[in-house]
Amino acid sequence: MMVREGSPFRGVGVIALKEAADHLTSARMHLIMGLVLLTAIGAVYGAIGRIKDTTAEDAYLFLKLFTVAREPLPSFAAFLGFLLPLVAIALGFDAINGEYNRRTMSRLLAQPIYRDAVLFGKFLGALLVIAIALLTLWLLMTGLGILFLGLPPTAADVVRSLAYLAATLACAGVWLALAIAFSAVIRSPATSALAALSVWLILTVFWGMIAPLLAGLIAPIDPLDPSTVLAQFEAQQSIARLSPQTLYAEITAILLDPAARSVGPLFMSQLQGSLYGAPLPTMESALIVWPQLSALVAAMILLFTVAYVAFQRQEVRA
């Protein structure tokens, strides 16, 4: 085991800030943020229309801005869940191989920094940009809500929506780590972008079909044994949760809907002593999604480790 001198993080801040500045001025970022902004405004506009039509009194009117959809537009939360991975992939797919292609990597690594700093810096820089974008969106939503619904968000609204924002950032982190891992393993940016997009397509669009299929193979239903039905459901749920999008959807559902109390099948024991439909305290909702949130962070760390191991021993000839 080697003992290393100096901090592995020296230079992280410098690299992160440069990356963030690059992203904020890049055409790529403007394009995708424009897309997100348009859809967000469309979704919120639709939601406002429906909320005005239907709901008269609601304690959590503000949160409904995120979740209510008017056909044919999906809700803001659904939009964001769909587009967020794209934003993260757009910011990360050429993080490492881009430096090789510009032939700047060897000069970068000839500076007195560790390779860790490059990886962390790229990650944090992109995450910072996503955080700024999310915060901007959130402020925009709040503003539109106040403007059109005529009431400010309550404290619980703010806490819940900010928690949702944090979870969104964690989910973006997973996709960012995935994109950066591909950029470290694959030398061509076009190929690494395609690889990351394929994973996104599978885990977002097709996973809902793949999970039941796999569950049917792993835990077939025995018509004579009712417990096998539950077994298959649980298998399906476990498989579905291998996708960060499933975890993220569950977190969203709980955090943005105070009445929701379980992400799985609801058992009578969970309802005991509670009034069905009564809102849960914010902390309890947060506790319910804690495992999902941890899983997202764990996935992020795992993917980051892959990128780290791939990058650490690479020969730098460019």
Partner: protein, 310 residues
């Protein structure tokens, strides 16, 4: 020059799968030396440089840069070593100045001195007027000079340059050579790989000839010429009042003396200029000129590789 080695590699080897790119080389460089790395394409020069910098892992062997192992203490080593890769790249949308500023921040050059130092190095590589244009608009020579500017800015003790003159016009090449000599006079140790033999001849104190992953020769150009020419040093002597052919025969190491158009040409197994001078003066002769004929690197290089290929 001090006697301590600032670069010391022993038994250094690099294998790519079954392919041996560098095959157990030894390299010792003293402080302040300018060393030329020569050899045909694919001989292992770049690979050796990458190993010295810790940019690729050696398969075997040990490296000490300023007494430190670049894999164990990378930050300390990298702080003292500047590198100009063979195809130097920059962030194209950033200006020359921004590129340098970014590297200065990473190199932890104190903020207070960065701006001034960047201006002065940009001026010394004649890029001050274009410093605020994006690098995308730079020519190849300008990029190369920007890379040199970074080395100047870093103020390292060792500089490693991989083919710094490739693609430069004669004037830029000359300017680059002047810069390298300026760095060397400032006490910097320089390792320089190049295919331009006249460049190497002008600036390098010693050369390492790479051939198929090995260093076939390491020494001065004179030593190389002597080794190839059967160990012969040629000294031109102009002197009056003596008969050198008789006199020189008494000097140990002299093989042959010929009179050629009014001067003598003396062949010896080593550099015997001090002894010759002493004898001529002692014999009452008037010594007008004593010149060790400069070996020409291109000749020696050509003959060396003709010999090893036989």
């Amino acid at each position: 020059m001090s006697d301590e080695f600032v670069i010391e590699a022993r038994g250094l080897a690099k294998q790519y799968g079954p392919h041996v790119a560098v095959d157990g080389i030894d390299l010792q460089v003293r402080a302040g030396e300018v060393i030329g790395l020569l050899g045909p394409n694919g001989a292992g020069k770049t690979t050796t440089i990458l190993m010295l910098l810790g940019l690729t892992e050696a398969t075997r062997g040990s490296i000490l840069i300023l007494g430190k192992d670049p894999l164990r203490r990378p930050l300390e080593v990298k702080r003292d070593v500047g590198y100009l890769p063979d195809s130097v790249g920059f962030y194209e949308t950033m200006t020359g100045r921004e590129n340098l500023t970014y590297m200065a921040r990473l190199a932890a050059i104190p903020r207070g001195v960065v701006g001034e130092r960047i201006n002065s190095v940009l001026a010394s590589v004649h890029l001050l007027e274009v410093a605020d244009r994006p690098v995308a608009t730079y020519s190849r020579g300008m990029r190369q000079r920007l890379g040199i500017a970074e080395l100047l800015m870093r103020q390292c003790r060792i500089a490693i340059l991989d083919e710094p003159t490739s693609g430069l016009d004669p004037q830029s090449t000359q300017e680059l050579l002047d810069l390298i000599q300026k760095l060397s006079r400032g006490g910097m140790t320089i390792l320089l790989s190049s295919h331009m033999l006249d460049v190497v001849q002008t600036v390098c104190h010693r050369i390492a000839l790479f051939n198929k992953g090995r260093i076939g020769f390491f020494g001065t150009i004179e030593e190389l010429a002597a080794k190839i020419g059967g160990g012969t040093y040629v000294i031109d002597v102009e002197a009056e009042g003596i008969d050198l052919s008789a006199l020189a025969a008494t000097v140990d190491g002299v093989k042959n003396v010929m009179a050629v158009n009014g001067h003598w040409q003396c062949e010896a197994v080593r550099d015997v200029r001090p002894q010759l001078a002493q004898r001529i003066v002692a014999a009452g002769g008037a010594l007008r000129n004593l010149d060790l004929r400069r070996a020409r690197l291109d000749e020696a290089y050509g003959r060396y590789f003709r010999e090893v290929h036989q």
